[in-house]
Amino acid sequence: MSTLKNFATVKVSKSIWALFGILIGLFLLTSFIDPYFFSIPAVGVTLSLAAPLGLLAAGQTICMLTGGIDLSIAMIAAGAAFIVSVKSPSGTATALLWGALFCILVGSINGLAVGLFGMNPLIMTLGMNAVLIGVFTVGVTTFLKGSSSMPEILVTASNATFLFDPFSWPLVIWAVIGGMLLFLLNKTGLGRLIYAIGDNAQAARLAGVKVWQVQWATYVICALLGGIGGVLIGGQSGAVAISLANPFLLPSVAAVVIGGTSIMGGIGNYTGTILGTLILTVLSYLLATINSSEAVKQMIYGAIILTLAWTYSKISQNS
């Protein structure tokens, strides 16, 4: 009876191939419009720019697998980067620790509010987003006064080439953390429970699972992933501001949805999100090469995301 050994479904791999095809297609299209894009250094830059989005989308993936969402992730990312830069005079390690503590605190509030007090994740994290904007706006001039530049070593880690092109430090960080997340989702008990509560929290509870603990852990991990992404964003832009990660919020959700994770929870995987992230990154490069106004670019961006999401849902239904 080894019939159950491979539980990866045909359906998932089929749609992953479809996404891969879309990515290659977009890549070739962009290279056709801008031949420079078809070069190893350009691929290297694209991948290193995709890393922060890939990390934020990683956090979003696990939240959405539980049937939740984290709309405060961009402010968590900005906040973590902000705290790291302010605390940098007392050493990079200490600064990173403060950043991590901030993420754990915010993630805990989100997770416990959702898990123990039954707050709707959308409302809870939207509210948290507003609170964080307020706290940091006040903080800039009072208790968080200080350096607004990232420690040198983190700036290097966010930009420098690793060994040779197209590999870079952000890509390595993304690969390591992404690998850990894939392990978490596919090979650990917590991963199973993330899927379980997203599919049917009532069933998980009846099986003796304390659903709130899983939600707590999920939102804390999500916040930590957001924090790491935020530090990379801060390092890539050099200086830190409150609005640092705002442009990443909606793409972090879009990457997950394009990657095939159900917003209702219970189904999906990080592999899809990685492809979704790469598709969105190539897409923004493509739009940057088109010579037209910002408004037109936004419309094209939105239209393409909607088309992708629609096509994807068709593909998964048919298989």
Binding site: G189, D199, R205, A207
Partner: protein, 490 residues
């Protein structure tokens, strides 16, 4: 089509996917007749009422009113054509005032208030429906139906939620309708009511009208035997291998338990290695009893003792820790539909933070494969349990506890909507558990299952234990009588 009939339902059938709710139902109601519609739970009564009143449409067959074929598009449409239903559950929108509720169905306020007054009640039209007591709500539903002056009034178990004085009032109203030459379809589990007021009775079983006869005195036996059908037991019923469980220790004791809407005062005990059957009509509090024992709901009062120790549950995890596992009546609430058989079977392995780490793949394979083999689960659609048949889904919910291990399995109607072959497998499984020294508390809406699988049975009526029967006494007549509140000597 006969002219002198008010209503004729001809060969109506309805299926929901693979589940057949009505196979072939016929019903004729004459003007000025009170017609009882009877049948066990799941026989198709409510489906028939829904088709008749335009809530759902039938797959085949037709309905005619005054000799004219009709098909109502909505309850509103039915009401306008003189067919007014009072459904089993209150049909008022809880969060808005009575006045607005009346306006929604186009009910004339004056006529409504006149009907309410005639019932000897008074209501405030500005009251929010949610604040009104259940019995009063039922009467409001009835008054609303009456104010449309229906040719045919349909009452679906209205008396079940009513105290005796209001139930008498309903019977008066039915008789008044009859005197006016109007008809009533009356659905009730209370046989005494039916004998005293109904003119004709039709019995449904498994979606077919199996019997229809004049309701004069002493029809009780005929009703019960029509409801139960032939005493055809499932081929070669499971043999009880156990001699007696009288000498063994008590595993679980329940003392004066009450809670929820219906459970008022229940006491019983289960011994080790015993299968205790629970029989009850719908809505006697049995569902809440199971939820309490599973740690899913909290009782209002009473005690639960496991191995002589008094215990309280805060979470299902507490019950599982003590070896009490729950197979709920609704399979959907126990399964993760989009996940694989493996993940569903292995779910309980990860409860508790210390099991959040790396999955022990080999150990998991072994337990999952064991469960699949011993329960004969069909693994062709293994990647998503929502694609399994109902029987296989039920095997997965039971198999989960086989992989986990338990002392007491709470099974709530485990064979509902399952094919005969799988039913037999589940009976055998339950007997196997008992042979291994484990206990099972089995509620079933199919009374014959009690004689097939249980060692003893209790019957719950109106939230209390009405009878405590040894296996020799667990025939369907006794169980049915006790379930209707009649005294059965034990």
């Amino acid at each position: 089509m006969t002219k002198d009939l008010l209503l004729e339902i001809n060969s109506v059938a309805k299926s929901y996917g693979p589940v057949v709710a009505l196979k072939n139902a016929n019903l004729s109601v004459r003007p000025g007749e009170i017609h009882a519609l009877l049948g066990a739970n799941g026989a198709g009564k409510s489906t028939l009422v829904k088709i008749l009143t335009g809530v759902i449409s039938s797959d085949t067959g037709y309905i005619s009113l005054h000799g004219q074929k009709v098909q109502f598009s909505s309850p509103d449409d039915a009401r306008k054509n003189g067919v007014a239903p009072v459904f089993q559950d209150p049909a008022l929108i809880p969060d808005v005032s009575l006045q607005r509720n009346l306006a929604l169905t186009g009910t004339n306020e004056k006529r409504f208030l006149k009907e309410i007054e005639a019932m000897g009640l008074s209501v405030n039209l500005n009251e929010i429906a949610a604040n009104i007591e259940l019995p009063t709500l039922r009467m409001i539903d009835l008054a609303r139906a009456l104010s449309h002056d229906p040719e045919l009034l349909i009452l679906d178990e209205i008396t079940a939620a009513l105290p005796i004085d209001l139930a008498d009032k309903v019977i008066e109203i039915m008789n008044a309708q009859k005197e006016k030459g109007k008809s009533v379809i009356f659905i009730s589990h209370r046989l005494a009511e039916i004998e005293s007021i109904c003119d004709w009775a039709t019995v449904l079983r498994d979606g077919i009208d199996v019997d229809s006869f004049e309701a004069n005195k002493q029809i009780e036996d005929r009703i019960v035997s029509a409801m139960l059908g032939e005493k055809n037991n499932v081929a070669n019923a499971t043999r009880r291998t156990k001699q007696s469980s009288q000498d063994t220790e008590t595993l679980l004791e329940v003392v004066n338990l009450s809670g929820g809407k219906n459970l008022t005062d229940v006491s019983f005990e289960i011994k080790k290695g015993e299968v205790l059957g629970v029989a009850a009509l719908e809505g006697q509090g049995q569902d809440f009893l199971f939820e309490i024992l599973a740690g899913q709901s909290k009782p209002d009062s009473g005690e639960i003792l496991v191995n002589g120790q008094k215990i309280t549950f805060k979470h299902p995890a507490d019950a599982i820790k003590l070896g009490i596992s729950y197979v709920p009546g609704d399979r959907k609430s126990a399964l993760m539909p989009q996940r694989s058989i493996r993940e569903n079977l292995a779910l309980t392995r990860f409860r508790g933070v210390r099991n959040w780490g790396r999955i022990k793949g080999k150990e998991e394979n072994r337990t999952v494969d064991n469960a699949v083999a011993s329960l004969e689960i069909d693994t062709r659609a293994k990647s998503q349990v929502k694609r399994l048949s109902g029987g296989n889904q039920q095997k997965v919910t039971i198999g989960r506890w086989v992989t986990t291990g338990f002392d007491l399995l709470l099974c709530f109607d485990p064979t509902r909507g399952i094919d005969v072959g799988t039913k037999q497998q589940i009976y055998e499984l339950i007997r196997k558990f008992a042979d291994e020294g484990k206990s099972v508390l089995l509620f079933t809406s199919e009374l014959r299952e009690i004689a097939l699988t249980c060692d003893r049975a209790i019957v719950i009526y109106e939230g209390k234990v009405q009878a405590n029967l040894e296996i020799e006494k667990c025939n369907e007549e006794n169980l049915m009588n006790a379930a209707h509140g009649l005294v059965v000597s034990s």
